[in-house]
Amino acid sequence: MRVAVCIKQVPDTEARLRVAKDGRWLDEEDLPFIINESDEYALEEGLRIAEASGGEVVVISLGPARVKEALRKGLALGAARAVHLEDEAFSGGDALATGRALAAAVAKEECELVLTGSQSDDVGFGSTGSVLAGFLGWPHAWLVMGVEIEDGTAKVTREMESGKNEISRLPLPAVFEVQAGINHPRYASLKGIMKAKRKPIDTLAPADLGLSPEDVGQAGSRLEIVSVAFPDSGAGAQIIEGEPEQASRELVDKLRQEARVL
């Protein structure tokens, strides 16, 4: 089975984040990027399904030149090929514009299954995979915690709120948005990294997908980010200063005398 896995590069939130000069997004200079957490699980799941069925994985990412690094990692982990949607016109897209572009790329690849992460750790629309499914006219499932492929159908476990799971059956082809924790992602081996250097990465612009620049990116989006900011900090916690020993003693006092919970 040919499985497409869509991955996104997101800022590493462990790094120090700064607002860009125009106030509309983060200052990306020196900002480290990583593969979105749930996408790593999607990739692992895709690799397992492809291995079990004697198929292959195509990794797809939309983004600027830097996302080649994420695609290389996908190749090093075992994907056969990579597709990079790289063009200025793709940038600033909402879930609808990005889903449209990714759907066109998947259609070109003739896959039977598409996996994405459940939600991006940057803008967090949680919607790109289901929009992609809509453009393809395929069924989809969000928050997938288990996939079993059985003759042309998939038995899918989906997470629900408060510790319940929904078990359902869907016909293939389909799109599954994989939730973190579904598996244990593998690490790239040195051999894998060496091999990845020789694997192809196709670079596609809107015209290669039969789309006009107006259909994708900010031009094809309804949603536009006007500004980003840090929320007012300070509100909330009374911060106890000092070395760990002193701060801890003070905290214990407060928990006993002010809050009366000890």
Binding site: S127, S130, G163, K164, N165, S248, R256
Partner: protein
């Protein structure tokens, strides 16, 4: 005239808590537009909820979409029921609660309708150009303000806890049944099951120490266990700790884990993402220990220590022992 629709979650009898929050948000939005909101209820039989709303909420109308295929949720059936109705009425906004069910289908609905999609709204304001919507980004570390461009319906979801379900505008409303076309499920629901591992019940715990990804590994849990022992506390965790296999799944607190309400909740190395926060909101006193002074968890806590948990935890354990002896 602009119309505002609300599609609230319900359990067949009453709106759920997220459903009530969506209802309140929708009523506010409608008031800002100078109109009254309308509610659309989906299900096999929604008469109980419809009658309850009709007698209690200030709305221009309660529309019911009833069909056998809506008895159990599937995205296909929900989109089939909603798409033609939204198309015909072309409301300016359709308001949903941002819960797992909504996210599973409402983007699909937007794609089908060519509607705008605005997930996870926490607030809005109006300026000369129209609405400016706030939504969290980067797991709540930052917020963004966004605008919707173009024309046509916008589907928006409101974040859990951003609006109080108690602030309902009371009144009454007429009920009207929607005529539905073909409604087809696009997945065959086999069963709904417990996710498993329900041995640990944290819902009755008095004191909880919740560990986050910041602890850095299974081998670094020793000081957590020690602190738990002196406090007689139960240990909970954020999702990444569970996903990494450092603790079993039945210790997870949050939207996909347990909802707890202890007297004292000590969050250690947890950033405070909304999916975690919804599970711990009921705690009476929250203490956060985190090395990042900008972590959202401090905004939800009474007390905070900014520092490396590996240094603070042993000191805290010692301080508690000391205070017990002294």
């Amino acid at each position: 005239m602009s119309r505002v629709w609300i599609v609230p979650e319900h359990n067949g009898e009453r709106l759920t808590r997220p459903g009530r929050e969506a209802l309140v948000a929708g009523q506010r939005l409608a008031a800002d537009l100078g109109v009254k909101a309308e509610v659309l209820l989906l299900g096999a039989d929604v008469s109980a909820v419809a009658n309850h709303l009709a007698a209690s909420a200030d709305l221009a109308g309660v529309h019911t979409a009833q069909h056998e295929a809506l008895a159990v949720y599937t995205p296909g059936a929900y989109c089939d029921a909603l798409a033609p109705a939204i198309e015909a009425a072309s409301p300016a906004f359709v308001v949903f609660a941002h819960n797992y069910q909504t996210v599973d289908y409402f983007a699909r609905l937007a794609q089908r309708l060519g509607a705008g999609l605005l997930p996870e709204v926490t607030a809005w304001e109006q300026d000369g150009e129209g609405f400016l919507w706030s939504r969290p980004i980067l797991a709540g570390k930052m917020t963004s303000k966004v605008r919707m461009r173009g024309t046509g319906t916008v589907l928006l979801s409101v974040q859990s806890g951003a609006f109080s379900g108690d602030a309902l505008a009371a009144g009454s409303a007429p009920v009207e049944a929607l005529a539905l076309g073909e409604v087809t499920a696009d997945r065959e629901i086999l069963s709904i099951e417990d996710a498993g591992g329900n041995e640990v019940d944290l819902t009755k715990a008095d004191v909880i120490i919740a560990v986050g990804r910041g602890v850095g590994g299974e081998d670094k849990l020793g000081p957590i266990h020690e602190l738990a022992e002196v406090l007689g506390a139960d240990i909970g965790a954020s999702r990444p700790v569970i996903d990494s296999g450092w603790l079993p799944r039945d210790r997870q607190i949050g939207s996909s884990g347990q909802t707890v309400s202890p007297k004292l909740y000590i969050a250690v190395g947890i950033s405070g993402a909304i999916q975690h926060a919804v599970g711990m909101k009921g705690s009476s006193c929250v203490v956060a220990i985190n090395k990042d002074s900008g972590a959202p968890i401090f905004g939800m806590s009474q007390y905070g220590i900014v520092g490396d948990l590996h240094e603070v935890l042993p000191a805290l354990t010692a301080a508690i022992r000391e205070s017990r002896e002294g």
